[in-house]
C-alpha cells in the first residue's frame, strides 16, 4: 500500500466516508462526518497508521486533505 492509499484509507476509516470523496476538495466541515469529533478520530487514525504523534498546533492546523499532506511531511511522511 502506498502512503497515499494509506492516507485515503485513514479518512475512510475515521470519518466513515466513501473513498471517492477523499480528495483535494475535502476539508474540515465540508462533509457532516468531518466535525470536531470526526477530526479527533481522523488524527488518531493517522497517528496510528503512520506511527507518529502530532503536535497540538498541527492538530489545529490540519484543516483539509491538502494541508494534511503538508503537515505529514513534517513527520517524514511523503504522501
Amino acid at each position: 500500500m502506498t502512503n497515499l492509499e494509506k492516507y485515503i484509507a485513514a479518512f475512510v476509516e475515521a470519518l466513515g466516508v466513501d473513498a471517492d470523496v477523499v480528495n483535494s476538495t475535502l476539508s474540515y466541515q465540508s462533509v457532516a462526518e468531518w466535525d470536531s469529533v470526526g477530526h479527533m478520530s481522523l488524527i488518531a487514525e493517522l497517528e496510528n497508521t503512520f506511527d507518529i504523534e502530532m503536535e497540538t498546533d498541527d492538530v489545529v492546523d490540519f484543516s483539509s486533505f491538502d494541508t494534511g499532506i503538508g503537515i505529514l511531511k513534517k513527520y517524514g511522511i511523503d504522501v
Binding site: S36, M40, N48, E53, T56, V59, V60
Partner: protein, 347 residues
C-alpha cells in the same frame, strides 16, 4: 470556540488519552469535574439519584469557590467540566459558572432535562461557552418518558431541546438510562437509531441502586449486559460509555471506571468519587483539589484499574459499601465507609 481550534483543551485531552495508551487505562489521571452547584429541579424523576427538591435550593458554594476550583482543575490538567443538577437551567448563576471555567481552557458540558432549553437559551449558552448539551431521554415513546420524568410534555420538550442545541452549534447528545431491566427491550437500539438519524451523540448512563432507587440491585448491568453494549459499540457512531476512552484509541478498548478521575462536587463543596458513590473525599472550601484527589487515589479501589463501573455493574461493591444512609447531599466520610468494613484499608 470549536474543539478543533481549542489548543489548550486539545492539549489536555490528548495528554489524558496518551496516559490511557501508556497505562492501559485511566489510572490516576485527572479528567474533569462533575459540578452540582444547585440541586434544585423542575422535574420529579422516578430514578433521580440526587433526590432533587422541586423547590429553590440553597447550597453553600459561592462563585469565589468556583473561581478557585476552576484554577485548581486547570492546574491539574483537567479538560472537562460537566455541569449537572438538579436542573442546571433553573440555576441563576449558570452563565457566571460557564464564564468562570471558560471555554478557552475547558470543554464545558451540561446535562439537562431540556424543558427550558428554548432556541434563545441555546444560543445564549453557546455564546457563553457551552460546547455540549446532553438531554436525558428514557424512551422513544412520549408516555413512557413522561411517566419516568413525572412531567407531561417532557418528551416533546426534550426533542425540541436537542434540536435547539444542535442548531445553536453545540454538540447535542442523548443520555439514556440503561439497566438490566431494559437492556433487551429494544430501546437502546431505538434511541441509537434515532441519534444516528438526527446526528446526535448517544451516552449510556447506567441505572444505579442509589438515590430514589436505593437498594434496587436488580437494575444493575450484568457482565452479559455489558458485553451486549460492547457488541453495539461498533455498530453505531458516537455511542459512548464513561468506561471507554473519550477519544478514539486503537490501543485501549476499555479505559475503566472514572471514579475520582472525574470527581463530583455537591452544592456544599463536598467532593465525591463520582455522582453515584456517596462517599466524601474532602471539601473544596477546606482543602486544595489536588490534595483531595490524591487522598481519593490513596484507596486502591480508585487508583487501580477497574474495568467496569462500580456503581452500575459491581453489585458486590455496592452491597458492601453503599447501603449506608448516604446521599449526594449527605455523603459519609470515605474512611468510615471503606476502612470500617475492614477492606481496602489505606492506613
Amino acid at each position: 470556540m470549536e474543539l478543533k481550534d481549542n489548543k489548550r483543551v486539545l492539549e489536555k485531552m490528548r495528554a489524558f488519552d496518551r496516559y490511557i495508551s501508556e497505562h492501559g487505562g485511566v489510572g490516576t489521571a485527572p479528567r474533569g469535574l462533575l459540578l452540582n452547584y444547585s440541586n434544585a429541579c423542575n422535574f420529579k424523576c422516578q430514578q433521580c439519584f440526587t433526590e432533587s427538591p422541586g423547590k429553590p435550593f440553597c447550597g453553600t458554594l459561592s462563585l469565589d469557590d468556583i473561581r478557585k476550583l476552576a484554577d485548581e482543575a486547570d492546574e491539574l490538567g483537567m479538560y472537562e467540566i460537566l455541569i449537572e443538577g438538579g436542573e442546571p437551567l433553573v440555576c441563576k448563576e449558570l452563565y457566571d459558572i460557564i464564564n468562570i471555567f471558560g471555554s478557552d481552557r475547558f470543554y464545558i458540558e451540561m446535562t439537562s432535562n431540556g424543558y427550558l432549553l428554548t432556541r434563545q437559551i441555546a444560543e445564549k449558552l453557546k455564546q457563553a461557552g457551552m460546547s455540549r448539551v446532553s438531554i436525558s431521554l428514557d424512551s422513544t415513546k412520549p408516555e413512557i418518558h413522561d411517566g419516568y420524568r413525572g412531567v407531561k410534555g417532557a418528551y416533546d420538550h426534550a426533542l425540541k431541546a436537542l434540536k435547539n442545541a444542535k442548531d445553536a452549534g453545540m454538540q447535542a447528545s442523548v443520555n439514556f438510562l440503561v439497566g438490566h431491566y431494559n437492556i433487551h427491550s429494544g430501546e437502546v437500539e431505538e434511541i441509537a437509531e434515532f441519534c444516528q438519524e438526527h446526528d446526535y451523540h448517544f451516552s449510556l448512563v447506567l441505572a444505579v441502586p442509589t438515590g430514589n432507587w436505593k437498594g434496587k440491585f436488580d437494575v444493575m448491568l450484568t457482565s452479559e449486559d455489558a458485553a451486549y453494549l460492547e457488541s453495539l459499540r461498533g455498530k453505531y457512531k458516537h455511542f459512548w460509555r464513561d468506561i471507554w476512552p473519550p477519544l478514539p484509541n486503537k490501543k485501549v478498548q476499555i479505559s475503566g471506571c472514572i471514579a475520582v478521575n472525574r470527581p463530583y462536587i455537591n452544592p456544599y463543596g463536598d467532593v465525591l468519587p463520582c455522582s453515584y458513590l456517596h462517599m466524601k473525599l474532602g471539601n473544596i472550601k477546606e482543602q486544595p483539589l489536588k490534595e483531595i484527589m490524591e487522598y481519593g487515589f490513596s484507596y486502591p479501589y480508585f487508583s487501580e484499574q477497574h474495568y467496569c463501573c462500580y456503581a452500575g455493574e459491581d453489585v458486590r461493591f455496592m452491597k458492601q459499601y453503599c447501603m449506608h444512609d448516604m446521599s449526594i447531599l449527605e455523603p459519609i466520610d470515605i474512611k468510615e465507609v471503606l476502612n470500617n468494613r475492614g477492606e481496602n484499608n489505606n492506613d
